[in-house]
């Protein structure tokens, strides 16, 4: 068969080739680069290497969204922070006082803060930041709250006053989610030329889609902080690659890891997991599409959701099952509400029969950018099919999905999150497309809903629990917004890293963070 051809590769040449290949590999494995740069054992490390799943979106710095979570508390500061119990802690603002008629709010500011350009921070900058958020193109959710004030004026060297026609107790939430920008350089921010704030780190270099660096701000108003000289942030979109990078020692910290992977790492004992405030992951129902306008059909859907299995199989328990969109420790939320709908296929089937809708064809569309949601959609689809629906999976890419959320024209059901619920019911109800009462993605507009939402928005602190409870009961009964679990965005880190916190806007706060080898 091969008589005319002789072995063209002698044993010698094969050996030579193999040696060369081996040598190539060995040369490559030169210095072991898997440990982080810095001092020897126990000494503090000066460079922090962070992995994130999405690149910066510098045209929307003031917006509460996943892209800028590493930027909002490092390069920028807020006026104040909202803590878990609903109270506020000072940051750039030192004090705030409502007038007795609740129609004006005086905010006192620090006088020792400088922007990275050296310019002093003052009340005009607060007003400028608020105005920047109110511009139509900013998309900052805080605008939904800011615009409820009739005016915001400078009333002193370190003071601004907000005035209201109608009392709005939730106003301070706006400043608990608004990075204070520098009006003089803000126009250069989207391209990355000048990203200026007052925060503990300055904006270094940026290779779009790949990585960016933050450098220590030597004149930060909290003296002695921060601890790191440089923060290197690498963008890794593939969850498998992110996991490998952390496990192989190329990263010290990861923000936004898939929850199941985080749980696995936590169980291994080699990494720590820092939890964050929780938010709503839900199945939305477009009530304009028949027969989804029938509340019995919607309740059938609610009973067909195996929330416990989703929590354990998809999220390894890091996201707790819940029927309520607000965090389970929010004022007015009861355990009965959280567990309101059990996984009850018999009830679901009978409800469907009553509504005469057995065998209804519906489409289910998970948000494609969240692998956990895509996994959860399998369980949702299964439950719905068992209950008697015919479910077709809807596959949209991110852009198409966002279009549908904005327009409210999903052909059936969808699954995504409302991250804003971390701030509590009031803020979410005023700013999140799936929840606003005048128009929402589910097209659920009723006078009852509108009045219950207003009651929550206008409620003072003492009336808030009851108002929230009433609204939650109504939402549970109407089942147009079916929460599956309370998700979160944890920070996974090597054991030597301490002092990292995640605020209520899911922004990572590294001001007090240190890393020991």
């Amino acid at each position: 068969m091969n008589d005319n051809l002789s072995p063209a590769l002698t044993r010698r040449s094969m050996l030579g080739g193999t040696l060369a290949l081996g040598g190539f590999l060995l040369v490559g494995c030169g210095t072991d680069n898997s440990s982080s740069p810095g001092g020897g054992n126990g000494s503090p490390v000066k460079t922090l290497r962070v992995g994130v799943t999405g690149d910066l979106l510098l045209s929307s710095i003031q917006r509460f969204q996943a892209n800028n979570q590493m930027l909002r508390r490092t390069v920028y500061d807020y006026l104040l922070d909202k803590s878990d119990d609903g109270s506020y802690t000072p940051s750039l603002a030192t004090a705030w006082k409502w007038s007795s008629d609740q129609k004006s709010l005086v905010i006192t500011l620090r006088d020792d803060v400088k922007y990275h350009t050296g310019r002093a921070f003052g009340p005009d900058d607060v007003i400028a930041s608020a105005n920047a958020a109110l511009v139509a193109t900013s998309g900052a959710q805080a605008a939904g709250l800011l615009k409820l004030a009739s005016g915001l004026k400078k009333t002193g060297d370190n003071e601004v006053t907000a005035t209201f026609d109608k009392p709005f107790p939730g106003y301070l939430d706006a400043f608990a989610m608004l990075p204070i920008i520098d009006s003089q350089t803000y126009a250069d921010a989207p391209s990355g030329k000048q990203v200026i704030g007052t925060g503990p780190y300055t904006f270094g270099s940026w290779t779009a889609g790949s990585k960016y660096t933050l450098k220590r701000n030597p004149s930060y108003w909290q003296s002695g902080k921060p601890a790191f000289d440089t923060i290197e942030v690498t963008v890794i979109t593939d969850s498998q690659a992110m996991l490998s990078a952390l496990q192989s020692g190329q990263l010290d910290m990861v923000d936004g890891m898939v929850l199941r992977d985080a749980a696995t790492l936590k169980k291994s004992g080699k990494f720590t997991v820092q939890t964050s405030a929780t938010y709503d992951i839900y199945v939305g129902v477009n009530t304009k599409v028949k027969p989804l306008d029938d509340v019995r059909v919607r309740q059938a859907i609610a009973y067909a959701l195996d929330r416990d299995r989703i929590s354990s199989q998809v999220y390894s328990g890091l996201a707790a099952a819940s029927c309520v969109p607000w965090p389970s420790n929010a004022p007015g939320v009861t355990q009965e509400q959280v567990k309101h709908y059990s996984y009850d296929l018999a009830k679901a089937k009978s409800l469907l029969q009553q509504a005469g809708a057995v065998g209804t064809e519906i489409e289910l569309a998970p948000i494609p950018s969240d692998p956990s949601v895509v996994a959860a959609s399998q369980i949702v689809q299964y439950g719905l099919t068992q209950a008697g629906f015919k479910v077709k999976m809807g596959t949209y890419d991110s852009a198409a999905f966002a279009t549908h959320v904005q327009a409210g024209d999903f052909p059936g059901l969808w699954i995504t999150n409302v991250a804003l619920t971390t701030m509590g019911a009031t803020t979410a109800l005023l700013t999140a497309n799936p929840l606003t009462s005048a128009k929402n993605t589910e097209n659920f507009v009723t006078p009852e809903y509108a009045s219950l939402v207003s009651a929550v928005v206008d409620a003072t602190t003492d009336k808030l629990p009851a108002a929230t409870a009433a609204l939650t009961d109504y939402m549970l009964e109407q089942a147009f917004h079916n929460t599956l679990v309370q998700g979160q965005t944890p920070v996974v880190a090597v054991p030597g890293l301490s002092g990292v916190t995640v605020d209520r806007t899911l922004a990572v706060n590294l001001t007090n963070a240190t890393l020991k080898e």
Partner: protein, 317 residues
Amino acid sequence: MIRYTLRRLTGAIGVLLIASVAVFALLHLAPGDPATVLAGPDATPQTVAAIRHQLGLDQSVPHQYVSWIGQLFSGHLGDSYTIHQPIGSLIAQRVGSTLQLTVAATVLTLVLGVAMGVALATSRRRVVTQTLDYLATLALALPPFVSGVILIFLFAVVWKVLPSGGYVALGQQPGEALRRLILPSIAMALPSAPVIARLLAAEMRRVAQQEFVLTAIAKGAGRRWITWRHIVPNSVGPAIIELGIRIGQLLGGAIIAEAIFARAGLGSLLVQAVESRDYRLAQVLLLLAISAAILTQLVAELCIAAIDPRVRVGGTA
């Protein structure tokens, strides 16, 4: 040959023009536009409309196409809609990673492929051919996203001798850059080398049957000489075409390899551009990818004409 090359190049421009229309049309037909992506899911219709107006997207589609083509011809690639930086500099930032991977993977594919192919065709020991066959089959059947994951697991996570990914410019730290290239180029070469090897071997076996080879043997030429001087050159045709295709695709951006090994190159930029409906960026990158493919194939055909004595460029077809 020069006339042929020129003819092909002018033909290529025609292709690119048609492709630009097709790409433009397809992207605009898809639901969503940069404004919806930039506005975010919580945006009000006013926000989306305001952003749309800011980007100039509320003009008619043909108008946008004409102004874009006009811009291109005057040498301006324009700015990316979502990243707000000039497209030229974005490409310059990412092209290094793609070029590195292309060169490394191609070299490895060539070396492995030719060695395996020649060995398959010429070795008289069944053990060798059988083993090579099975190895080739195994490598062929392993998609990069499986072999890549296994390689990372073994070399980066368990043994910790190589980094799990990332990209470093050759100019900055050559050692680091090479270390990060090893695993991805192996993952990319593994499925390609056996294809080259098989094409080469199949062709070599066929060519070896032909009379001119017997003639050469009768004339007293040594076997190794016959193999490398006569048979291999006549056999490289299909293999080189395939290699040309693979290089073209690598230049367009090895999307899956870039995702697994976290190398931000042109491929991931293209995916990002399509997903965020960044029309300008996506269009430029696609045209770039198509140009790269056309050019590499042209070069491949010229190479065949140079090596294979039977083929003349510009034949009847």
